[in-house]
């Protein structure tokens, strides 16, 4: 008998508009010590399965049919009391965001010891000692003093280690990892994945990895189940599924993963669709006749770069003081210089904390640099001789933010959100014209004009990012700053958004500053790439050069950390640890 058996599991969400079938009868089983990956787009029902196993389905979700067997016991019918004895003790769970998974007001030692005490006979003292031991095991340096620290005193990667400790501290037989590394950097992600894999192997723990990241699946799992709209369309050994997918959905999902080894013209789209899964098509913009072509001022077509950044430095004060020697500051960006030519896509890549977003924010005028200057189209916009940015210049520079959930005002309709820059810059004669432009923009980003009447919460992450793009385009910009525009999104939606940006760039002659920690995406998108490390720009090179022959050791290091998807180049990394 397997450790875990899901038999014809169905999960329904009853809403006012009828029942949503999130999981439609799936069969899955997991052996002790085995690592199973569950992969699919968001909305495929993968997290719902994890929550159902541990008995924490958010209402109105309910198990509508089927059985969950764990260690020869049926657990889907257990009472809350019964489940509480299983949670933590027999089944552990790790959530996506280590920043929010820990109680900010308790020390990590308290949280771990509390969990240990709950599931064993240990008193607080010995439980604390055990906590220190476990923290050492997951690679937290100096655990005996760190145990008294609060979550905010740890970085993201360290917090995820604490979360792992918490999930494993009562020696469960099964651990469910729901997107365990999505919120982390590449380098940290690699460490955490290795750690999880080692812990599962050492303790003979069965694990379920829920993720949309094919790289993670390929690095860690033994078997994989591909989910599509509440069903498992394919299961099998990871290496088999990744190299020879049989179901057409798996094939198209794999094809949509941005490739790190070759540069393609366009991102392969996930073209697999079933009836009822509709996506709008977009029209091509003809600049000669289109509203977006009527720009206020074309930048002079000469050799001066559109954006020129010289010796940019940004310091944040950590500790204010009247006495200068007591002041402490943190240099987020140090002496960064680069230029971006008209019509090109310049990429900035680096781990989080490397200062890439800070650079973007300085160019957008959201931060004032401590030193150095920024010139846009020959005019200094930040620095010692900076002039106040004129309205037309502000209009030409637009930004798309990382998080499509917090960058849209949820109290406003999409029409208001997108037309705001038009109204602000008085780009339309009257409301009717503005409305027509908004409808047209929404059409072009593939949302359809009827989206204008809706509120942001009615859209998914990818659709919201399209709204952000429409809003950015509404000022007829020359220069778009994209700060991790797709890192919150699924591969399939990522491919759509990035293709949209590419087409818009081609049609409108846009210049892009593209920031990402995702190397394959950077490779596909950018003409030239700058690599940032702890605030410094260590290397600038054309994209192909950088990937084929990195000059700086840090660049090679970053490249080596990219999770590889089997079937796309290196295959030997799968399952050889």
């Amino acid at each position: 008998m397997s450790l875990l058996d899901l038999k014809d599991l169905k999960i329904h969400f009853d809403t006012r508009r009828g029942t949503i079938e999130a999981v439609r009868g799936i069969h899955l089983s997991l052996e002790r010590g085995e690592i199973l990956g569950v992969v699919g787009e968001s909305g495929a029902g993968k997290s719902t399965i994890g929550n159902a196993i541990i008995g924490l389905l958010d209402p109105p979700g309910r198990i509508a049919g089927g059985e969950i067997w764990f260690d020869d016991r049926r657990i889907d019918t257990l009472s809350e009391q019964g489940m509480r004895a299983i949670r933590g003790r027999r089944i552990g769970m790790i959530f996506q965001d280590p920043m929010t998974s820990l109680n900010p007001l308790l020390t990590i030692g308290d949280q771990i010891a509390e969990t240990i005490c709950r599931h064993s006979d240990l008193a607080k003292g010995p439980a604390m000692e055990r906590a220190i031991e476990l923290l050492g095991e997951v690679g937290i340096p100096d655990p005996s003093s760190r145990v008294n620290d609060y979550p905010h005193q740890f970085s993201g990667g360290m917090r995820q280690r604490v979360v792992i400790t918490l999930a494993l501290c009562a020696d469960p037989d099964l651990v469910i990892c729901d997107e365990p590394t999505t919120a982390l950097d590449v380098s940290v992600q690699a460490q955490i994945l290795t750690l999880l894999r080692r812990l599962c192997r050492d303790r003979n723990v069965g694990a379920i990895f829920i993720t949309h990241d094919m790289g993670v699946i390929s690095e860690v799992t033994d078997r994989v189940a591909v989910m599509y709209r509440g069903r498992v369309v394919e299961t099998g050994k990871t290496s088999d599924v990744l190299t020879h997918p049989t179901h057409s959905y798996s094939k198209s999902l794999l094809a949509a993963v941005p490739r790190s080894d070759v540069r393609l013209d366009h991102f392969p789209q996930l073209d697999y669709r079933e009836a009822g899964d509709t996506r709008a098509e977009r029209k091509v913009i003809d600049l000669a006749t289109h509203w977006l072509g009527r720009r206020a001022a074309e930048p002079a077509a000469n050799d001066t770069p559109l954006v020129q950044v010289d010796n940019l430095t940004m310091r944040f004060a950590l500790h204010h003081s009247v006495i200068p020697s007591w002041r402490r500051s943190f240099t987020a960006v140090r002496d960064v210089s680069f230029e971006i030519h008209s019509g090109e896509t310049f990429g900035l890549v680096g781990e989080s904390g490397s200062g890439k977003s800070t650079v973007a924010r300085m160019i957008a005028g959201l931060y004032q640099p401590s030193f150095g200057r920024i010139r846009y189209d020959g005019t200094e916009i930040a620095g010692p001789e900076a002039q106040v940015m004129s309205a037309s210049m502000r209009q030409q520079i637009q930004m798309i933010f990382q998080d499509p959930f917090s960058s849209l005002n949820r109290r406003k309709r999409v029409s208001e959100i997108v037309s705001e820059p038009i109204r602000h810059h008085r780009l339309a004669q009257d409301k009717a014209e503005a409305d027509a432009i908004v409808a047209d923009l929404l059409e072009h980003v593939g949302l359809g004009a009827q989206a204008a009447r809706c509120y942001p919460h009615e859209f998914s992450g990818g659709q919201r990012q399209r709204i952000s793009i429409a809003r950015a385009l509404a000022t007829r910009p020359q220069f778009l700053i994209c700060d991790e525009p797709t890192s919150a999104l699924d591969v399939s939606i990522q491919a759509q958004i990035l293709n949209l940006l590419k087409s818009l760039q081609a049609e409108l002659g846009l210049t892009l500053l593209f920031i990402s920690h995702d190397l394959p995406v950077i490779r596909q998108m950018c003409d030239r790439i700058g690599v940032m490390k702890t605030g410094e720009l260590v290397e600038i090179a054309p994209a192909e050069h950088l990937f084929k022959a990195p000059q700086h050791p840090y660049t090679s290091h970053l490249l080596s950390l990219m999770p590889q998807v089997a079937g796309q180049g290196k295959l030997e990394r799968v399952n050889d640890r």
Partner: protein, 331 residues
């Protein structure tokens, strides 16, 4: 820590200074004090002599300095109406108000927080819905009406509790404080007014805690705590309640200040010999020394309470204790 406290202290002192300036300016705006102190047939020479004695001919800055240094030592001058030092008047009345306000805030915390936790956790339960409906009444019925209804029921019809006054009091702390907590009649007298005063705050604390609980129960760390199999009590109180406390502490602090300063209506209904009534009389009689002293004292209460609230934040939330910027630790 020292930085945090000294910063708050400096702010408090600045606030007190500004309030003292406003209080002082009352003397100049609300008429000439001499006119209110003397009889109508006093000669001009007499008036001049009095002005000189009272220091009203000195420059404003010196007068202000004199006022502040007096105020710091508890000397706010002599009441025009009562002809007694204002400091003594207030000191006599303060215990009544502070005991009433303190007890009502304590009641609102002891009742409001558990009810808030309960209604937050059992959002759709019948009892919780009933409590929410009742709490609306508590918020919307004016205090005086509740006071009158309570007097009618418990004093007039049932005759259980006194309808006015503090009952017997006992002097403690060397006679500087008279308390009603040590006698039966004193305690009985406290019941009705403190309930009247507490009702509004109880409902407010309850609604606030409920709203915060609803928010916190949706957070990831609560879900993670549940996924670790922790018990209900640990989740609800250790993890959830503590995270709701910041806004609750803020509101309770502000409420305590409010209740001390503006218990006037309740004090009138129950003929409570507290500061509220002293202040009301002062307004009617244009008794400027009492008004300005009251202003300074209330400001002082608010400043002290706010200082304590800030320190409570500091005790509750470890994130305020560290100076390091988030995310600068090594990955």
């Amino acid at each position: 820590m020292i930085r945090y406290v000294s910063g708050r202290l400096a702010q408090s002192i600045l606030v007190m200074f500004l309030v003292a300036a406003v209080a002082f300016s009352l003397f100049g705006f609300v008429g000439d004090p001499i006119r209110q102190m003397i009889t109508e047939d006093a000669s001009q020479a007499e008036i001049e002599r009095l002005r000189d004695v009272m220091g009203l001919n000195d420059p404003i800055s010196i007068q202000f300095w004199r006022y502040i240094s007096g105020a710091v030592q508890g000397d706010f001058g002599v009441s025009y109406f009562h002809k007694r030092p204002v400091g003594t008047l207030i000191a006599e009345r303060m215990p009544a108000t502070v005991e009433l306000a303190g007890l009502s805030v304590l009641l609102s915390v002891l009742i409001g927080i558990p009810l808030g936790v309960y209604t937050g956790l059992n959002r759709f339960g019948r009892v919780a819905r009933g409590l929410m409906a009742v709490s609306l009444i508590g918020i919307s019925i004016p205090t005086f009406l509740i006071g009158i209804m309570l007097i009618y029921l418990f004093s007039v019809i049932l005759g259980w509790l006194p309808s006015f006054g503090r009952g017997d009091t006992v002097s403690i702390l060397g006679g500087s404080w008279s308390t009603g907590f040590l006698t039966i009649s004193g305690l009985k007298s406290l019941i009705l007014p403190s309930i009247t005063l507490a009702l509004f705050q109880t409902t407010m604390v309850m609604r606030l805690v409920r709203a915060e609980m609803l928010d916190v129960m949706r957070t990831d760390y609560i879900k993670f705590a549940r996924a670790r199999g922790l018990g209900k009590r640990a989740i609800n109180f250790r993890h959830a309640l503590k995270n709701t406390l910041m806004p609750v502490v803020t509101v309770i602090g502000l409420q305590l200040g409010n209740v001390i300063a503006f218990a006037i209506i309740t004090e009138s209904v129950f003929q409570w010999p507290g500061m509220g009534r002293l202040f009301l009389q002062a307004i009617q009689q244009v008794d400027i020394p009492v008004m300005s002293a009251y202003l300074i004292m209330i400001a002082f209460f608010f400043v002290i309470i706010n200082l304590i609230t800030d320190l409570a934040y500091y005790a509750i939330d470890p994130r305020l204790r560290s100076n390091t910027l988030k995310g600068t630790a090594n990955a």
